[in-house]
């Protein structure tokens, strides 16, 4: 099995984390999914069109997620910041869960790591959403705002990935924490290089949507 770790997504084999840590990350992820479901239920169905958008971004993200790009040795895009920008953190949580489960189902990442990967991707979704919404008055331009939100979101996701790996530890290796930290920091730096592509792509998509349907972004027409 491959053990890729492109973008902020842990692609380790099952068994890399101890069972107790696998369970811990699954429980945390399930709690957050529960909060998202509760929030969705309590808000009712007034935003039904978001369900369609969520389905579209889930399909697009799943499709892109599996394509290995021959850059820096092999990476893939996530589209998680785009998910955050278009559907927000609540529906985004469910989209992330679906994508990670389907990815594991086709052999892209271990089942045991789905919980940890949901957390990582969820941070990307939430941070990108908050940056995109929170900087509206400072950065009115959709392209750059979405791009910056993507950079920050993916960077935070990478940091969470680093934290999860350091906290969990990897079974059967002799590297010290310092060595793992150094190595993973370099990987994050490389990952962020690829984030430029994702930021450009997200910026272009958001700008296009902003031109034809600004209401989908919560933006008012100028």
């Amino acid at each position: 099995m491959r053990s890729y770790q492109p973008m902020a997504h842990i692609h380790l084999e099952d068994g890399s984390f101890s069972l107790s840590w696998v369970i811990v990350w699954w429980i945390v992820a399930l709690l957050l999914i529960g909060v998202a479901l509760w929030s969705l239920r309590s808000r009712g169905t007034k935003n039904q069109k978001r369900i369609t958008i969520a389905a579209f971004v889930a399909a697009a993200a799943f499709a892109v997620f599996q394509i290995n790009i021959p850059l820096f040795g092999g990476v893939h895009l996530n589209l998680t910041p785009l998910i955050g920008i278009l559907v927000g953190p609540v529906l985004g949580t469910l989209v992330i869960l679906v994508i990670n489960i389907l990815s594991a189902a086709i052999g892209h990442g271990g089942w045991g790591l789905v919980g940890a990967n949901v957390l990582i991707n969820l941070i990307e979704v939430i941070v990108a959403y908050l940056i995109f919404r929170g900087t509206r008055s400072i950065i009115p331009d959709l392209f750059s705002r979405a791009g910056i939100a993507t950079f920050v979101g993916l960077f935070c996701g990478n940091l969470v990935m680093l934290g999860i790996i350091l906290v969990s530890g990897i079974q059967g290796v002799t590297q010290t924490t310092g060595q793992v930290l150094t190595g993973l920091s370099l990987i994050i730096a490389v990952n962020m290089g690829v984030a430029v592509i994702e930021a450009l792509l997200t910026g272009l998509i958001v700008r296009y949507i902003g031109k034809i349907r600004p209401d989908l972004l919560g933006e008012t027409k100028a």
């Binding site: 369609t52 389905a55 599996q66 040795g73 370099l186």
Partner: protein, 90 residues
């Protein structure tokens, strides 16, 4: 609105992009010309699987995981999109 206020978004985006690309190139130079997989193995101390399948691809692009499952799931998701659009529109 001044030129700075008008363009600060794209200026900031470009500054971040330049810093990020520079950092990535430096990191890539430090780790050497190895794939992300090998780099990750080196970082974590995992011993890589020598018998990894590379998969068929086009110009270096290839699919992760099982291709048939990928296609079937993608078709399923497209069908879900179709029904979601019919039901809720956008």
């Amino acid at each position: 609105m001044t030129a700075w206020q008008e363009h600060r978004g794209i200026i900031l985006f470009c500054i971040i992009a330049i810093i990020v690309i520079a950092g990535a190139l430096v990191a890539f130079k430090i780790t050497g010309p190895m794939g992300i997989e090998e780099r990750f193995h080196a970082a974590t101390g995992i011993i890589g699987d020598e018998e990894e399948e590379t998969g068929a691809g086009i110009a270096g692009f290839f699919l992760e995981g099982n291709t048939l499952s990928y296609i079937l799931i993608l078709i399923g998701l497209v069908v879900v999109c179709f029904f979601a659009y019919r039901q809720y529109r956008i």
